[in-house]
Amino acid sequence: MALGLDLDYLDRSARGEFDLGWLRDTGAEWGVRALPSKTGLTLRDIAVGTYGEIPEHAPLRTMAPRGSGVEAGVPDMGYTINDRAEVWADNVLDLYEEAVSRQWSATRDIPWADLVPLDPDIEHAMCQLATVLSEVEMVAADFPAKWLWRINHDFVEAKMFLCTQVMDEARHTEVFRKRALANGGGLGRATAVVERFLQLILDAQSYDEGSALMHLLGEGIVLSLFRAGAALAPSPVEQQIFRLCMQDEARHVAYGTMHLRYRLAADPSVAEDFHAYLDQGEEIISMIFATPEIVEPTAILAAGGLEQACELGTAAGDVLRHQIIGDYLKRCAHAGLDRRGRLRLPDALIEGVPGARDEVVA
């Protein structure tokens, strides 16, 4: 229907002859009142009446708020993700509230003034790790941003959560860039293998594929790196940076895990697709485990210096490797995707990880 300026309406309304169709012919649930809970008025609080009903398949492709009346002739926005299972997670309402409530500032909330001169090898290691993290974090903003406009507005809570992730990742990119530049070390080296993994996420052919690679695999690994960084921090500055980033990253991973769980519960037949996505991702990840720019700074920070790291080899880093693979397997299992016995990681990497070699029980 062509839109046009209704000149008659301008005349009528000027005389006080209002249309009032929006007032009289409303489908709104008059009297449905959302009540705030103890932390304020949350998304869960407003999921009342039909407003809380999320369709399995969005009937329209418009930006009209779910539950509103929709005028005939609204344009088609061309959304390509119109099934709830493609993007939903049962914890997404709570994760959004948590994300908004736990925002922080890389400028204000890090005690930058407490930075102290570090042993040059430790500073180099910290800066190299900060370089890698500043590099990889932005893909976790780019990927949701790439898909956000394709997600139907009926799943607005999921879109809103992904918006918080975009902001989180911008802040992570910011804070690690700031750390690299704040203590005299500067930025280190970006590597081809890391960029290949980021490209795999960014070029994913579906949200399913990208989310599995990013939320579950990539961010799971980074979460473990953040946890290790907080434990190995040479000063309260790095401790605070890694702790705050860990909290954010764990939200994203919690979404990814529960999204995959929702997706598989809705359609178990897609499990093999997800296995294939992760097969590919793990093959690249195995190369990251053999990338000096990641392995060595972590080993130096874990051992407390270059000499100590040379004596220990990567033994100190084994704890991190075990945690990464163990947590990843646990998340896959919770989502309903058993990767035991199917990991595309060489034996040398899964050595000693409980359950990593177990055969899948049919």
Partner: protein
């Protein structure tokens, strides 16, 4: 810097800890809402176990204990020998907020001297999501007791 008078790990010690941690509601709110059932399991020298639960709900924190893991139904449990817990507490009492080595994250990352366990991935991820809040609670062991607080 006053030390909590009740003995660790009695529920009274945790009640006082939480009272200190919640003295300034604005500070707690700045950390953000939390949703975590956190179990503290202390293995005593004779092998018996003391179990206390902390419930982080929005901006509220409640102590449940003494209790058992089964009845508390925690998202995550941090467990370890009494000496390891006391080392952490004494360090915070002496120095203030835990450094990396004396934080819950640092003490649990290798599984020794403390270990974090959960039934599923969501429990361990909740430990990571609310690490700042739960650490702030334990860091209050080094803070002054709020005026009028009782143990």
């Amino acid at each position: 810097m006053g030390v909590i008078e009740a003995a660790f790990p009695t529920p009274a010690w945790f009640v006082e800890l939480v009272a200190r941690a919640t003295t300034d509601p604005a500070e707690l709110e700045r950390l953000g809402i939390a949703d975590l059932r956190f179990g503290v399991e202390v293995v005593l020298p004779d092998g018996s176990v003391e179990f206390v639960g902390l419930v982080l709900d929005g901006f509220d924190i409640a102590v449940v204990g003494p209790t058992t893991e089964a009845s508390f139904a925690p998202d995550v449990v941090v467990s370890g020998p009494l000496d390891a817990w006391l080392d952490m507490v004494r360090w915070i009492e002496t120095h203030g907020p835990a450094d990396s080595a004396h934080s819950l994250n640092g003490l649990t990352i290798a599984g020794i001297p403390l270990a974090a366990r959960s039934d599923d991935a969501m429990g361990s991820d909740k430990f990571y999501r609310f690490m700042g809040t739960i650490q702030a609670v334990f860091d209050a062991a080094g803070a002054s007791a709020p005026a009028g607080s009782q143990v």
